[in-house]
């Protein structure tokens, strides 16, 4: 393996060095043409461990961005920080130009940046429909006084029920409408959580491992849903381990390792970045990479997948 640079070092990106999404050259922390999230100097330590230490990060608007990296790279911590579920030691970030540093999680969600969780948080003891309605906004009946008078919230309830039914049909959960969410399978819960997050029409949806534990058949439909989100104008940021999925659907890939952004780029080139190979194979080639299929062959997998997508170009599978 050719890896000249250490993880976290300033790495020259693989070809090409410019991209339509980027102003200037492509590289870790590069500026985007139209960013929806801009983060600066975000760090979070747990005792002596620095989980996240990101100098600069921009997430493009209206695109599907993947956040990848080996286990313990700080991806989920970064998610938690950006969405207000955890507080950073340092750092500022803004969403649509509005600073969200120190803003509580519920206000982040109201601002239009809604997340899902790695361990699915569908509410098992509410019905599927109630789960969906919980995701809606502007329901006056959520005020304790208005709640007492049904006519004040009935019409809004009808509106959001129609919307919930549309989404449930789209995610093929309509047959489960009246069931308790606890009766859903793991994959269906992932779908429900995603559908529920969409009830508020978020501008940016952040999916933490949407494919984990989902069977291959359902994976295809989840991929379809994520692509549809983009065509509806929603920006997507997702954490994922499955390299095939990353290369298939993402427009942009951000690679984290040991808390830092080590590489960025379009999926077909970022996998060839020495820093990425280093992140996955270099420092930790002998550690357990968990549910990553293929273990140490991960990068090869990813590269193969990238080739598959763009098989008409870059036919130079290097075996150096």
């Amino acid at each position: 393996m050719s890896s000249d640079n250490a993880a976290g070092g300033t790495t020259a990106p693989a070809i090409p060095s410019t991209h339509p999404l980027v102003t200037g050259t492509v590289g870790p922390g590069c500026a985007k043409v139209d960013p929806i999230v801009v983060a600066d100097g975000v760090s979070r330590t747990f005792g002596g461990l620095t989980a996240v230490d990101v100098a600069h990060l921009e997430i493009p608007r209206g695109k599907i961005t993947a956040l990848i990296g080996p286990n313990g790279a700080g991806k989920t911590t970064m998610f938690n920080l950006l969405t207000g579920f955890d507080k950073p030691n340092t750092g500022t970030w803004n969403f649509n130009g509005r600073s969200l540093a120190g803003v509580p999680a519920f206000k982040v969600a109201r601002a239009g940046m809604v997340r899902t969780f790695q361990l699915t948080k569908s509410l098992g003891r509410l019905t599927v429909l109630q789960n969906m309605l919980l995701g809606a906004t502007k329901q006056p009946g959520e005020n304790i006084f208005t709640a007492l008078v049904r006519p004040l919230w009935k019409s809004r309830e009808a509106e959001i029920t129609i919307k919930a039914d549309e989404l449930l049909a789209r995610f093929k959960l309509d047959a489960k409408r009246e069931d308790y969410a606890a009766s859903l399978s793991g994959g269906q819960r992932k779908l429900l959580e995603m559908a529920r997050a969409l009830m508020s029409d978020p501008e940016l949806i952040m999916l933490d491992e949407p494919m984990a534990g989902v069977n291959p058949a359902l994976t295809q439909s989840l991929l379809g849903h994520i692509k549809n989100l983009k065509s509806d104008g929603t920006s997507v940021l997702f954490v994922e381990h499955d390299m095939h999925m990353v290369t298939h659907i993402s427009d942009w890939v951000i690679v984290m390792a040991e808390g830092k952004v080590v590489a960025e780029g379009p999926p077909e080139t970022v996998m060839k970045d020495p820093a990425v190979i280093d992140a996955y194979l270099g420092a930790h080639h002998d550690t357990d990479l968990g549910d990553l299929t293929g273990g140490p062959n991960l990068v090869e997998d990813a590269r193969a997948a990238a080739e598959e997508v763009h098989e008409h170009k870059h036919h130079k599978e290097d075996k150096s």
């Binding site: 969405t83 579920f85 509580p104 999680a105 519920f106 206000k107 969600a109 109201r110 809604v114 997340r115 899902t116 969780f117 948080k121 569908s122 509410l123 098992g124 003891r125 509410l126 109630q130 309605l133 919980l134 995701g135 906004t137 329901q139 009946g141 959520e142 005020n143 304790i144 709640a147 007492l148 049904r150 919230w153 309830e157 308790y180 606890a182 529920r196 997050a197 009830m199 508020s200």
Partner: protein
């Protein structure tokens, strides 16, 4: 054994003001634990604050009835805020620890001799029923039938007490079918999920804590109307009786706390009658009546354990909706 008397007393408990007070406190606890998942182990403190908050202004300042009630309500709201602000941002267990400790703290405060002038210390308070009695529109005299024969004051306490129980039940019903209820039920299960959907979880938990606490303090007022204020009544034991009642009927149900309170008091009255009768007639000569009184409460503990193990959803609860994973 005088079975007529034993049964008469037991049936009388069905509509006694004490049963109403316990039912109301259990409805409040149902809002806390049953619907919102707040582990409040200090419902006795809310009852205590209701009782003293009503009695002290009445005795000390001759406050009119509405003013005294308002004092009790404001005191319980402040107490709920005081408990909730530091703890509701933390995990559920912390609220449990803080409420059980705070309940003991307020009980020691009202028992302390330094406050004898105001709280009557261990002797408690009496002589606060005048304003409530004066509000009684019922004619003087004793009326009713069978075991339900009471004087005018006793009827008035029962009517007001059960009226408030019905009012509280309607309030809980209206709230829990609304989107507000959907949010607190979501919080009961996973507050991070609700937070991620843009709901101010802290505010909803606080609203539930205040509402259930206010119901507890109104229960405290009803509780003292047929008796004096006695600090010894507000031990953690009271809190656990309320828990037993709520779990017996079903934690997140409308009728559960009411039926639970009725069963609780009827059974206590029946067992007391039967045990005392048996002792008097020599069947249980080795027991004193004091010991028999304690045995009843051992049975309550046993019943609570069996309930949690074998029927955690209570009488009315939906097993799919309710379980004990807080």
């Amino acid at each position: 054994m005088d079975w007529g008397n034993i049964l008469g007393n037991a049936v009388g408990e069905l509509i006694s003001p004490t049963t109403a007070a316990y039912a109301l406190a259990a409805i409040g606890l149902g809002v806390h634990f049953g619907y919102t998942g707040l582990l409040n182990f200090g419902q006795a403190a809310f009852m205590l604050i209701g009782a003293y908050g009503f009695a002290i202004p009445t005795i000390e300042f001759g406050a009119p009835l509405p003013v005294a009630i308002l004092c009790a309500l404001i005191a319980s709201v402040l107490f709920a805020l005081f408990l909730g602000i530091p703890t509701l941002r933390l995990r559920a267990d912390y609220l449990a620890i803080v409420t059980i400790a705070a309940a003991e703290v307020v009980r020691y405060i009202v028992t302390t001799t330094g406050l004898t002038e105001v709280t009557g210390a261990a002797n408690g308070l009496s002589g606060f029923k005048g304003t409530f009695a004066a509000s009684n529109p019922l004619p003087d005299g004793t009326y009713g039938f069978g075991p339900f024969t009471y004087n005018s004051y006793d009827w008035w306490v029962r009517i007001v007490g059960w009226g408030l129980v019905i009012l509280a039940s309607v309030l809980v019903f209206l709230l829990m079918r609304s989107p507000w209820g959907r949010i607190v039920k979501g919080i009961r299960e996973d507050e991070d999920a609700v937070r991620s959907l843009g709901k101010n979880v802290f505010s909803y938990k606080m609203q539930a804590l205040v509402m259930g606490g206010v119901m507890g303090s109104i229960a405290g007022i009803i509780f003292i109307l047929p008796r004096a204020v006695q600090p010894a009544n507000y031990t953690t034991g009271l809190t656990f009786f309320i828990w037993t009642i709520m779990l017996l009927g079903g934690a997140a149900t409308i009728f559960g706390p009411i039926i639970g309170a009725m069963i609780f008091w009827v059974v206590l009255s029946l067992t007391q009658g039967v045990l005392y009768g048996a002792i008097e007639s020599g069947f249980l000569g080795f027991l004193s009546t004091t010991q028999a009184g304690q045995i009843r409460f051992m049975l309550v503990g046993l019943a609570l354990m069996l309930l949690v193990i074998f029927r955690p959803q209570g009488i009315f609860g939906n097993k799919k909706e309710l379980s004990f994973s807080v």
